[in-house]
């Protein structure tokens, strides 16, 4: 924190303080007021009673289950991938590096169209899967595929960066002490990067939970099967807006919980070097 406000020049100091306070207030209100408005739009009674609405419950259940599965897959596949990617120089590494970031800049609807064109019933790959009776579009699997596509960069970038920053001396020393690569990964690498990995995982979960564009394009909208919470909000706001507001509030609460967890983890010291 700079001590510029301790400068001896009084009038400029006051001006600076006012300017800074003004700026902070404007930004805070712009972000906070819409969210707060959600809570005031509905009475607590209506909120709690619509929690038992089957539409709300099925959307909540579907969203949580699919997001958790998506997260699980991203962690299981992504962690070893990020490790090898960060530790080795292989041909095409730069291309892969760029591809990892692609879903971050690609509009979700485009991602959905792309998945449909590839895996849909008449898609380039989908048509062969269809021969074996495997359908992906308009299934819960499609929801998970869309979620994984858009949310994996959050985890992969974080894991990649953590492994890159981890001083190789730890792993080298462990090797000289006689530990096998698997043991090193489990006892040294992961524990030393754990809290960073968890915060990446939490962000991934949040993104998967909020996914809309790719889902509605590739998975469609079927209550209980593919109607996740964001889709239910969209539909709800055009018909039963109490349901729409309720699910919106639920999503806000979950998002806040996610942010708190991430901040808590980021504040813990991670000895990397």
């Amino acid at each position: 924190m700079t001590r510029w406000f301790l400068r001896p020049d009084n009038s400029r100091r006051t001006l600076a303080v006012i300017g800074a306070a003004f700026l902070i207030i404007v930004v805070t209100l712009y972000l906070a007021l819409p969210v707060a408005a959600l809570f005031f739009r509905i009475t607590p009674d209506l909120f709690f009673s619509s929690l038992s609405d089957p539409e709300v419950q099925s959307a909540l259940r579907l969203s949580l289950i699919t997001s958790i599965i998506s997260l699980g897959i991203v962690i299981l596949v992504g962690t070893p991938f990020a490790y090898f990617h960060s530790r080795t120089a292989y041909p095409g590494k730069m291309i892969v590096d760029t591809l990892i970031d692609l879903p971050l800049v690609l509009p979700p609807a485009v991602a959905g169209v792309a998945l449909l064109v590839l895996y849909g019933r008449v898609g380039f790959i989908g048509r062969y899967l269809n021969l074996f009776g495997i359908t992906l579009a308009f299934t819960t699997v499609a929801v998970i595929m869309a979620q994984i596509f858009v949310s994996s960069p959050f985890y992969l970038r974080q894991a990649k960066s953590l492994f890159e920053q981890l001083d190789p001396a730890y792993e080298h020393t462990a090797r000289t002490l006689g530990a096998s690569p698997l043991r090193i990964f489990a006892t040294i690498t992961i524990p030393l990067t754990a809290s960073g990995l968890v915060s990446g995982a939490v962000m991934t979960f949040g993104r998967a939970l909020g996914e809309f564009g790719a889902t509605i394009m590739f998975a469609g909208n079927l209550p209980g099967v593919t109607q996740t919470m964001p889709l239910a909000v969209y539909i709800g706001m055009e018909g039963n807006f109490i349901v729409g507001i309720t699910i919106s509030i639920l999503l806000v609460l979950i998002s806040f919980a996610i942010m708190i967890v991430v901040r808590f983890l980021a504040s813990r010291e991670v000895p990397l070097a």
Partner: protein
Amino acid sequence: MLEADIHKQLRDFSLNVNFQVKPGEILILMGENGSGKSTVLNSISGLLTPDTGSVSLAGTLLFNSKHAIDMPVEDRNIGYVLQNPAVFPHLTVRENIAYGLKARHKAKDLVDTRINHWLMVMEIEELAQVKASNLSGGQKQKVALARALAIEPGLLMLDEPFTALDTESRQSVQEAVRTSVSDLQIPCLVVTHRVADANNLGDRVYILHQGFNRWEGRPSDMPDGEMQLPA
């Protein structure tokens, strides 16, 4: 007995060294930055692979380019304390020292005995349950040393072990090294740039310059001109 014959093309020059270290003997490797000292240690440990050459320890071939032998790092049983002592910050001192033994699936009793022995030798018994991230530089160095010795290695290698230590810690660590090497009767390789360390600790000195051996001999015989080797 350690026998090392290492040839490796580095960025600016080629490394060509050839030396032996007897059991119980401490060889000091000196040279300016970038002369290839750490590469020598890494090659012996297996973390790097020489282009050609041969490394053998107590008669066992660890590496031989002619016969295509390259033993994996984890099998070489070499105690190696890197320049960054890399004590595992998330483990306690005890767990750190035990790491190599646990990796070799040694029995619990044996592990405890060894740990207690080395805690005593390094005079850090009171730190046994302390999390390694909370240790001072000198304490970390001792833990790293104990950890390397606990596995009863066939060779001990130390890369700049005294740089971050104050005078008192330096003396006790040097004492610990001397005692351990003598007790275990293993060869020992120490990289340092401080001439005083060479004098205190070394039985022989091997000076490296641009990848080749500039001088080799007893510390007391070290040429004056070399006293001013830059850090």
